[in-house]
């Protein structure tokens, strides 16, 4: 808890100046609930106009009809039937949409598993092994700075390394491990997963670090004193207490990868199909109801995943 000295430490030098003007204290006060509305209202309006209403439009338009040129505001299930075209006829083989979602889920799982592994140990190192606050802040900052720079640049940054004549290939050729350049390094599923891990491990590190930093160090000492091994302490004390962070990080990573179309587009050489990519393709073809139908499907699947995960932890309590 704060000591009174800390409180004074925080206090501003302007504090005294503010107190000199007592006259204003008598001026009319706004009622507290009105003040809250004025403070929170503008942000609520932005979410209403640019998030909630647009979502409603996505659902409405997904049930509209369309031709080659325009939206036709009449009820139709065509957006959905076009999307699931051939799904029953082709059984037991998977139709296009089924295959696409299967591939997206596979990418999602790979990226989730890798970012969780890296994120957990990076956060663990920062939270438990870095003792000085200054170092902790410096190293956290080091992990955060790339997040403030452009994603596309961080994607194309892999080209000089992974390309046909890139550093990795020329290294492999020189050491004689391969005779001709390895093709699957770039514009492949491998490079998509690599880039997604590169871009989004940050979203795993931050919440896990936040959970870990709140763990009372004496609990860990108590575990050691009671004779637990390092591994037992990790599994029975640290992981359960870091669970909220793990779940929140997982939700971030999974929803980002499920909806991603840019990384998959750029790093997959525009050749890999994915859930987000379908929406983009439909929009480019001006088939808005079909795009909206796909958005609704993606939204439902993402929502199901989040509901499943938030069963494990109460998100609101953790923030």
């Amino acid at each position: 808890m704060d000591t009174s000295e800390d409180i004074l430490q925080q206090a501003s030098p302007d504090l005294v100046r503010g107190s000199e003007t007592r006259r204003a204290a008598k001026s009319a006060r706004l009622s507290p609930s009105l003040v809250s509305w004025l403070q929170a209202g503008p942000m609520m309006l932005v979410f209403l106009a640019f998030f909630l209403i647009p979502l409603v439009f996505v659902v409405i338009v997904s049930f509209w009809d369309y031709n080659e040129y325009q939206l036709l505001p009449a009820f139709s299930g065509r957006g959905y039937t076009d999307t699931f075209e051939g799904c029953i006829a082709q059984l037991p083989d998977l139709c296009t949409i089924g295959k696409t979602y299967l591939k997206t889920l596979k990418l999602c799982f790979l990226v989730w598993a890798i970012t969780l592994f890296i994120g957990f140990w990076v956060a663990y190192f920062l939270a438990f092994h870095v003792k000085s606050k200054t170092w902790q802040m410096g190293l956290s900052l080091l992990c955060t700075i790339p997040f403030w720079t452009s994603n596309v640049i961080r994607m194309i940054a892999w080209i000089p390394l992974l390309g046909r004549n890139g550093l990795v290939n020329s290294g492999l050729m020189k050491t004689g491990l391969v005779n001709q350049p390895v093709e699957w390094l770039l514009f492949s599923e491998f490079s998509v997963v690599l880039a997604l891990v590169h871009l989004f491990t940050f979203f795993m590190v931050v919440p896990i670090f936040n959970s870990m930093i709140r763990i009372d160090k004496s609990l860990i000492e108590a575990a050691y004193d009671a004779g637990a091994s390092g591994f037992q302490t990790l599994v029975n004390v640290i992981i359960p207490l870091a669970k909220p962070g793990i779940v929140i990080g997982s939700i971030f990573v999974i929803t980002i990868v499920m909806g991603d179309f840019i990384t998959i587009g750029v790093m997959g050489g525009q050749q890999i199909a994915a859930a987000g990519k379908i929406i983009e393709t439909r929009v480019n073809a001006l088939q808005f109801p079909a795009a909206a139908a796909n958005a609704v499907i993606l939204l439902v699947i993402t929502f199901l995943i989040i509901t499943m995960m938030s069963r494990i932890v109460d998100i609101k309590k953790e923030l």
């Binding site: 140990w121 992990c143 080209i159 929803t255 840019i262």
Partner: protein, 292 residues
């Protein structure tokens, strides 16, 4: 606890260092490659060192008007930053009391953060298309579009920056001592004076952090802009377009320029935060100085 570092420390330190190398290595590679000689290609080795590609970029590559996109992105970034700071601080203050739409606003912000960007972007574009159609049908047949950088584009970026701003405000007020405000009130300060002279100076370093998030997130934003920005392009959109067509290092040069702006903003913000923290530590307390 034992003295000295356990072996796991060294293992994890190596792991951490490898992660940092993984984060920065590729980026540094393209910064270096943007100084490629005029004959150089997209990969190492360097074919001489020059500022040829960077200069060429400023003269215009002829394909797209990068200067205009640069100015547009900058303008949008600054506006997004200002709006994000003001709305986040205001809403953050509101969340310190209970109010009616509290949980609606909270869940809207969280949902806005995790609903896939392409869906938000598509929704905004549909919303504006329908507005356009209504205007054309009822008021003005020659109406072009209400979509644009500072209408749908600004809104799309705000749905991405505001949740971050709000979450940072939660973190700030989690460790804010309300007794400071009580003290100010007891001394007769009005709510506004309390905010202006007590709360704001204390939270200012973190508020600058929100501004930093606001600008950089907007400056690099791509997924939400893709459908909602209207006819014009922002810099990241131009860059993404170039990835499919360009075969020489000017794409790296553009990447270097965009990153340079990001790094300038990051340095400026972190420098200011550091300065404010030092000032607060030096002047914030008059404890031990006796009665004045």
């Amino acid at each position: 606890m034992k003295e000295g570092r356990p072996r796991s420390f060294y293992l994890l330190a190596i792991f951490f260092a490898a992660y940092v190398l993984f984060l920065y290595g590729p980026m540094i590679a393209i910064y270096v490659l943007s100084f490629q000689g005029p004959q150089g290609g997209l990969t190492f080795p360097m074919n001489g060192v020059s500022t040829y590609w960077l200069t060429k970029l400023f003269q215009g590559t002829g394909i797209v008007d990068l200067g205009a996109s640069f100015r547009r992105s900058l303008l949008l970034g600054v506006i997004v930053m200002a709006v994000t700071v003001v709305l986040s601080v205001a809403a953050g203050m509101a969340f310190r009391r209970k109010f009616k739409m509290q949980s609606i606003l909270f869940y809207s912000a969280i949902a806005s953060l995790i609903v896939p960007s392409i869906i938000t972007s598509l929704g905004i574009s549909l919303e504006f298309r329908i507005i356009d159609d209504l205007i054309k049908a009822h008021w003005n047949e020659n109406f072009e579009t209400s979509m644009g950088l500072l209408t749908s584009g600004l809104g799309a970026h705000l749905t991405w920056t505001l949740p971050f701003g709000l979450l940072i405000m939660f973190a700030i007020f989690n460790r804010f001592d309300p007794r400071l405000e009580e003290a100010a009130r007891d001394l007769g300060a009005t709510p506004w004076q309390t905010f202006r002279y007590v709360v704001l100076p204390i939270i200012l370093p973190s508020v600058i952090g929100i501004g930093l998030f606001g600008f950089t997130l907007s400056w690099d934003e791509l997924a939400r802009s893709s459908q909602a920005i209207g006819a014009v392009n922002t810099l990241p959109l131009d860059l993404q377009g170039l990835t499919t067509t360009v075969t020489n290092p000017d794409i790296y040069a553009l990447g270097t320029i965009i990153s340079a702006v990001s790094f300038a903003v990051i340095t400026l913000a972190l420098g200011t935060i550091h300065m404010l923290n030092k000032r607060q530590a030096a002047k914030g307390s008059d404890a031990g100085k006796g009665l004045v």
